[in-house]
């Protein structure tokens, strides 16, 4: 395929400036359409993806990590060396065949075998008993609805987010209480580091090419992995159960997020008042790219963008809300109504109101959502008056939930 590159930016400039860029690019476009020929017909050498090549190394641990970094086999933090012995031990955590390819990871399209899942697990500090969970995470983030290619190459600061439900939380020591989304939870952090190692090394999404993230985010290093605090969920219905799974199922839910925000409401006594302050936070996140009256069942477009939102409720906040909203559905319905921006708060062209909306002016409050299904509620964390609100990467993504198969 032939490309003509028109220099950035194209957005937020005047029409005469765009015209000048089009005129400058035009001869090259015609040339590419009529005269371009490929530079060569190189035949790519095909090497089986399994087994991975074994490399002999002599040196210190520090030198080994430098070698890994220099070769593009690690990212900013040290790794545990994936020796054949350590990888073999990890593979004992699954019955899957080591040569099975579980994902060709975009954008580089490196083939991730079960053996390499084990290798990355070792590198990130995971244990053999984590293998089923690692494979479930890979299944979730490789789903088309996750849109890994889009979120790992975009200019936006995206964050892989993994929520875990089920008995596996206590079995593996996955944090779901105080500080669970922070950096001091070794299992959560190892699982998160695994995701980024896979994405950056096999997937090749390193800035400036081909990860085009303008500023990036810390989610590029260690993905956010945590459990739902099912024991302190006042609705007695976990996120996984709400979405059709059994309480005994171990479930991984993945979605790609934009940066979230925090709610620190210490004073609301009524659930309604607390949800009002949460709606303010939810209205403001992913600013500039959100559409009004978004519809979950309609494909993404710039007029139907940011179609859902996650609310990670601290247990104390959840209790306050539960007193006035005894079902999750009632919470979701309230947030659909209240999560709104004045028309002037939407980017021009991203909020086109239908005729049936009625009269409005620039100060009219327009909801972001239309259906309760767009609101996702997870109870997580420990004591305190804190909750977090995370919007999704706004393309056609949807949360992906898969069962952890042991």
């Amino acid at each position: 395929m032939a490309f003509v590159e028109v220099p950035h930016p194209m957005g937020m400039i005047s029409l005469p400036e765009i015209r000048a860029k089009a005129d400058a690019a035009f001869p090259k476009i015609v040339q590419m359409a009529t005269q371009w020929k490929p530079a060569g017909t190189a035949v790519q050498k095909i090497t089986p993806p399994y087994p991975a090549e074994r490399i002999k190394f002599r040196g210190t641990y520090e030198a080994l990590n430098k070698m890994f970094y220099d070769k593009g086999w690690s990212i900013s933090l040290p790794v545990i060396p994936p020796t054949p012995e350590a990888v073999a031990a990890m593979l004992k955590g699954t019955t899957r065949k080591p040569g099975e390819v579980v994902w060709a990871v975009p954008p580089r399209m490196g083939q991730l075998t079960v053996e390499l899942v084990a290798a990355y697990g070792v590198m990130a500090g995971c244990k053999p008993e984590h293998m089923p969970l690692l494979l479930a995470i890979v299944k979730a983030i490789s789903d088309d609805n996750y849109d890994w290619r889009g979120n790992s190459t975009t200019t936006a600061p995206t964050n892989p987010i993994i929520i875990i439900n089920g008995p596996i939380l206590d079995e593996l020591g996955i944090a779901y209480s105080t500080g669970d989304m922070g950096g001091e939870m070794p299992v959560n952090i190892s699982l998160g580091y695994f995701i980024n190692l896979v994405g950056d090394i096999i997937g090749g999404s390193i800035p400036p090419d081909v990860d085009k993230s303008t500023q990036g985010s810390r989610g590029d290093l260690v993905a956010l992995v945590f459990g739902e605090n099912e024991k302190l969920n006042p609705w007695k219905q976990s996120y996984a159960v709400e979405h059709g799974f059994k309480p005994t199922d171990n479930v991984v839910t993945a979605f790609s997020a934009y940066l979230g925000t925090n709610n620190t409401d210490h004073t609301s006594v009524k659930g309604k008042d607390l949800l009002n302050t949460m709606a303010v936070g939810a209205a403001g996140v992913a600013s500039g790219i959100t559409s009004c009256l978004s519809r979950y069942d309609v494909p993404f477009s710039w007029q139907n963008s940011v179609k859902y939102m996650f609310f990670f409720l601290g247990p104390e906040h959840a209790d306050t809300i539960y007193k006035d909203f005894p079902t999750k559905l009632s919470v979701e319905e309230y947030l659909v109504k209240k999560t709104a921006l004045p028309l002037w708060g939407y980017s021009p062209s991203q909020c086109t109101l239908p005729k049936e909306f009625g009269p409005y002016d620039e100060n009219t409050m327009i909801p972001r959502f239309t259906k309760p299904v767009q609101i996702h509620i997870v109870v997580t964390g420990g004591p305190g008056k804190q909750s977090q609100i995370w919007p999704p990467f706004p393309t056609g993504t949807r949360p992906v939930s898969v069962i952890v198969e042991k």
Partner: protein
């Protein structure tokens, strides 16, 4: 007597020094500084190789051709498009255009939309904006 005490003192001193030196050999040398030979896996993963496809034959001219315009919906592409079409029309008055708006993200009918674009067009110009 004094000489004997001095010898004892010297022996104790040397023994202590030896013990400290020995302990340092095991504990003062950091893990990071210890050389070793190990094998490790190359974690990059072999590239997936898509089935080879021949490149399309180039059009000799755009005159009288049906040119499909692929707008991937990223902002910027739609701004650029009118100027490109105008320039093409001025240069090739008999050219025929049809624009397909096919979002860049994955959606259920995407493959069929791309096939329809390919079926109609003699050539395609894609606009990948941002």
């Amino acid at each position: 007597m004094r000489m004997h005490r001095f010898k004892i003192f010297l022996a104790v001193l040397l023994s202590t020094g030896f013990l400290i030196a020995s302990a340092c050999m095991f504990t003062c040398s950091s893990y990071a500084a210890t050389e070793a030979q190990i094998k490790v896996l190359d974690p990059r993963g072999e590239l997936y190789s898509a089935p080879a496809m021949p490149i399309n034959v180039r059009l000799q001219t755009l005159t009288g051709k049906k040119i499909g315009i692929l707008n991937n919906t990223k902002p910027g592409a739609d701004s650029f498009l009118p100027f490109l079409l105008q320039a093409l029309k001025e240069a090739y008055p008999t050219i025929e255009f049809k624009t397909w708006t096919i979002p860049y993200n994955v959606y259920p009918n995407k493959a069929n939309d791309l096939k329809a674009l390919a079926a109609w067009s003699d050539g395609v110009i894609g606009l990948l904006g941002d």
